[in-house]
């Protein structure tokens, strides 16, 4: 089991989701995040004072996959999320020891 975590641009979520479904991924967990990195934020102005907002809104995906699918899933995400502009994000994988489906108590590949 691997956990693929991806940080992507928010407006790419739909594309990534569609690509993953096509690949056969059945579920995932999504959350909001803010990114710091090479990509610059924007500026807001309030009564003549300028504020630099240096965080950039991002979406964080977590996808549990079987070991053998990990590489391909990473690939699918990277392709679908790519715009080629700075700030497209990162994808990484970490090892997972156990996975349980809460509803049934099934573990391992069954739990996905």
């Amino acid at each position: 089991m691997k956990l693929i975590t991806a940080i992507i641009k928010p407006f790419k979520l739909d594309d990534v989701k569609a690509a993953l479904e096509t690949f056969g991924v059945k579920g995932m967990t999504v959350s909001e995040a803010s990114g710091f990195g090479r990509q610059k934020g924007h500026t807001e102005v309030y009564r003549g004072a300028e504020y630099k907002v240096d965080v950039v809104p991002k979406i964080r995906l977590e996808i549990l996959v079987e070991d053998e699918d990990a590489e391909e899933v990473i690939d699918v995400v990277v392709k679908a999320a790519q715009t080629g502009k700075i700030g497209d994000g990162k994808v990484w994988s970490t090892p997972v020891e156990t996975v349980v489906r809460v509803r049934t108590g099934e573990t391992g590949a069954e739990a996905l």
Binding site: K9, F11, S34, F36, Q39, K40, G41, H42, T43, E44, V45, Y46, G48, A49, E50, Y51, K52, V53, D54, V55, V56, P57, K85, I86, G87
Partner: protein
Amino acid sequence: MEIDSGNTAWILTSAALVLLMTPGLAFFYGGMSRAKSVLNMMMMSFVSMSIVSMVWVLWGYSVAFGSEGGVPAFFGGLDVWGLVGLEATGEGYPDLAFVAFQATFAIITVALISGAIADRTKFMTWCVFVPIWITLVYLPIAHWVWFSEGWIFKLGALDFAGGTVVHINAGCAALALALVLGKRKGWPKEPMRPHNLPFVLLGAGLLWFGWFGFNAGSALAANETASLAFVNTIVATGAAGFTWIMVEKLRDGAATTLGIASGIVAGLVAITPAAATMTPLGALVLGLVAGAVCAVAVGLKYKLGYDDSLDVVGVHLVGGIIGALAIGVWGSAALGADSLLSDGSATLLGKQAMAVGATMAYSFVVTFILGKVLDLTMGFRVDEEAEVTGIDIVEHAESAYDLNTSSTSGLGGSTAAPIAGDIKKVEADA
């Protein structure tokens, strides 16, 4: 006639009520926008208040209601520009009370248009559009309908409080601009749901409240006519809100808050021209009809493919037409509307249709040309990146909300120091 303090009090109160309608509209529209473009939407209403108030004093009132120097059937002259030399009309109230009351009508009319072009309008172009549109479109139509020498007034078509001048006019202009600016990226595939429905209800509530000034105030006196218009503005509105959600319940399975808010506005629009020429029962029926028809009409845009984002056409144009024609069909002869049902004659209905048609044609054509010219010169629409990022940040350098309660957290928040002076706008990067 001497000035009557009671009538004056009512006109001033009504003017204040109608002025409040534009902030109300800003919330009605703003709540329906997405969270990333609510400020732009509200700004279009607020800047209309700013710009039109100046235009009205400088030349607006004079062109709409001035009696000398223009072409009486079509527009007034500049004889009372700057409100200098305004003379008492002897109507029992101060002229300036009438000036104030009418100013608020001009403001809301142009603000209404903005609902059609949500999420994508260049703010500076809108600022240029407003005074030109008021001058070329609103002032002449107001003159036709309400000035005693205006051609529609003389024709004998009835428009008590502004069904043609305000709603049909704004609805047609909205359609023209929706066509000029084109569809939003992703429309209609991508869902663009209201970001704040309580704000939509706030807007609807303030609009209803303000509309008593609009309709009952149009009697320009605190009398029987005003009271009739007031009752009709309660019952037609209530009825339209009700049928709209009943249509929804039957068709979609659920009665929505957006539905009742929209129905309320549809009812208000429909009763506007008819407020003093219908009995309360007639107004109730008008409300029932307007609510149901408009509930269906807002779906037209998906069929016809124009992105009238917040349904100005479906509510104001359609509702305005229903109200204007209904006078000719079931207006009350006792109240001056020799309608089909109360008088057996179609003459009034014909006049109503002519007034509606002329207003529609003029408003659409002139607005479309004006829109195109501005689009070709200044550009009327932001670029795609700005639309995706959110127009609030790009056009106004602000975002509507920062609800994070952690002191200096960077989440949805800003982290660098304020820099006073030496400031330049930085483009946001999606």
